[in-house]
């Protein structure tokens, strides 16, 4: 049984007058199994971020349903809290809290949301930051770190909530090339350990190493799905071929 089930997801954006400016999701069906790593690829504006963001309700769908662990997500505050607590998110621009140290960034949500005891939270945060290689940066502020270090800290922040699902949106596209690897290694490690993940990324090496399935989206629709090697080496659809020839 799948952990995340998306059925008929539609989402359009409107301007202030109510005119539709973009159809971001145009009927998307997608399943992500427990422990599965699904990679989303597709041209800019194809709806990848919107799909990710609607899973934890940073965007509200116009229609369609999202089921997490057998329960349909609704507007109820309890549902919202559950999905936000259970799904971690990693953003393209890291979005670390700039007025807090790295350690406080990681401790904030477990303290405020899970109401865990301070000493326990702190100990666990220190362990997580050690795991992403930032033991010597605990008391630094985000602006004192390189992009790669900030992204690793952001991953530790998401993991501190012990999420069952990680939503990762272009984690390396704001990074200088020499920092891409250190971040992808962390994410690959998580994949190996069985974290359920929905990842937007165009890093082919990472895709082949970590993804169970690759989903190609275009214009708000899923065009083609396959194994990494299958989809990259022998795409069936013309649009997939065109896109892959573009990025490879």
């Amino acid at each position: 049984m799948s952990f995340v089930t998306i059925r008929g997801a539609r989402k359009s954006f409107r301007d202030q007058r109510g005119h539709e400016t973009a159809l971001a999701l145009d009927g998307v069906d997608l399943d992500v199994g427990k422990g599965e790593v699904v990679l989303l690829i597709g041209p800019s504006g194809s709806g990848k971020s919107t799909l990710l963001r609607s899973v934890n309700r940073l965007e509200i769908l116009d229609s369609g349903t999202i089921t997490i662990d057998g329960k349909v997500l609704t507007d109820k505050p309890a549902d919202l809290r559950r999905i936000r607590e259970d799904a971690g998110m990693v953003f393209q621009h890291f979005n670390l809290f700039s007025h807090l140290t790295i350690l406080d960034n990681v401790c904030l949500a477990p303290r405020l949301v899970r109401k865990r005891e301070k000493a326990i939270v702190r100990e666990k945060a220190i362990a997580l930051l050690a795991r992403v290689g930032l033991s010597d940066k605990l008391d630094r502020y985000p602006r004192q770190l390189s992009g790669g270090q900030q992204q690793r800290a952001a991953i530790a922040r998401a993991l501190a909530m012990e999420p069952e699902l990680l939503l990762v949106d272009e984690p390396t596209s704001a990074l200088d090339p020499e920092m891409v690897r250190e971040v992808l290694e962390v994410i690959t490690g998580l994949a190996r350990e069985g974290m359920t993940m929905l990842v937007v990324s165009h890093e082919m090496g990472f895709a082949r190493a970590a993804a169970d399935r690759v989903v190609f989206m275009d214009a708000g629709k899923i065009v083609e799905t396959g194994s990494p090697d299958g989809l990259f080496d022998s795409p069936r659809e013309e649009r997939t071929k065109a896109f892959l020839s573009h990025i490879l």
Binding site: E85, S98, H99, V113, A154, A158
Partner: protein, 272 residues
């Protein structure tokens, strides 16, 4: 040649306006100490300094509290809250401060007495207390109330800008971690917004000090009022207003310099 150049850059970097103001200050102090007339005037007006500072400080602190509430309402997701805050801010900012002052003093205070009497009417009916009269609010209180209500509108706009300057990505990240809207405001938005607006608030305090001279229109014994009374009775307008200006400049220029320093410190903190 290098000597010449370094002298040139040093002269170029000197804030000459500040040197000139400091020179004026020294002239003022020397005059106060050596010239009998000036020392009498200094003595007559100096008791207005604590009044000016007191009015300005109380009004400023109260205006920050009210301004923060209005700023939060104005940047709220709730439409009616935004509309109410905007209504208040635009109304008050559209009036000259002197008119706000007169309005609160002569319309607002009696109205406030009426409202309080209505709220407390059970107690009054039991003869536990006398009905309040407008004159139970002295003019200093009314002046402080007016400055508070007036400046809250300006400070609200400062807070709103500070709140809106906070990175939206950080707000999303906090929501994605499961923080409630209120937690996001208290733990993410406000700490950053307040830090961003500290210099602007400092400048606003300087403005409140200057505008506190308006309370002289209600007869409150601040620097301006004492100067007005003294000069009118002695016809020493020139000397008196020199002293009045001297006192205000001592307060405002030193505060402005503190604000600049704070601003520099915060900037350095950002790029650290």
């Amino acid at each position: 040649m290098p000597l010449f150049k370094s002298l040139g850059t040093r002269l170029g970097m000197t804030p000459w306006w500040l040197v000139a103001i400091l020179a004026l200050g020294v002239v003022g102090l020397v005059a106060a100490a050596t010239n009998g007339d000036y020392s009498v005037i200094f003595g007559a007006i100096a008791s207005g300094i604590p009044v000016t500072l007191g009015v300005a400080m109380v009004a400023f602190v109260a205006a920050i509290v009210l301004g923060l509430v209005l700023g939060l309402l104005k940047s709220s997701q709730v439409r009616i809250a935004r509309e109410l805050a905007t209504f208040y801010i635009e109304l008050v900012r559209g009036l000259p401060m002197l008119v706000v002052l007169y309005y609160i003093a002569f319309v607002g205070a009696p109205a406030l007495a009426g409202v309080l009497n209505w709220l407390l009417s059970p107690l009054i009916a039991l003869h536990w207390m006398e009905p309040l009269l407008a004159r139970d609010f002295d003019f200093a209180t009314r002046a402080i109330l007016a400055l508070t209500l007036g400046y809250a509108a300006f400070i609200a706009e400062i807070f709103r800008a500070g709140i809106e300057s906070v990175d939206k990505g950080q707000i999303e990240a906090a929501l994605a971690l499961g923080l409630s809207r209120g937690q996001v405001t208290r733990r993410i938005v406000l700490p950053q917004a307040i830090r961003n607006v500290l210099p602007a608030l400092g400048n606003e305090f300087v403005a409140v000090i200057k505008d506190s001279s308006l309370v002289s229109a209600l007869g409150v014994q601040d620097i301006t009022q004492l100067g007005k009374v003294y000069s009118a009775s002695t016809f020493r307008f020139f000397e008196t207003y020199n002293v009045v200006a001297f006192f205000y400049l001592c307060l405002t220029v030193s505060l402005s310099m503190l604000v600049r320093r704070l601003e520099r410190r915060l900037k350095e903190g950002q790029s650290r």
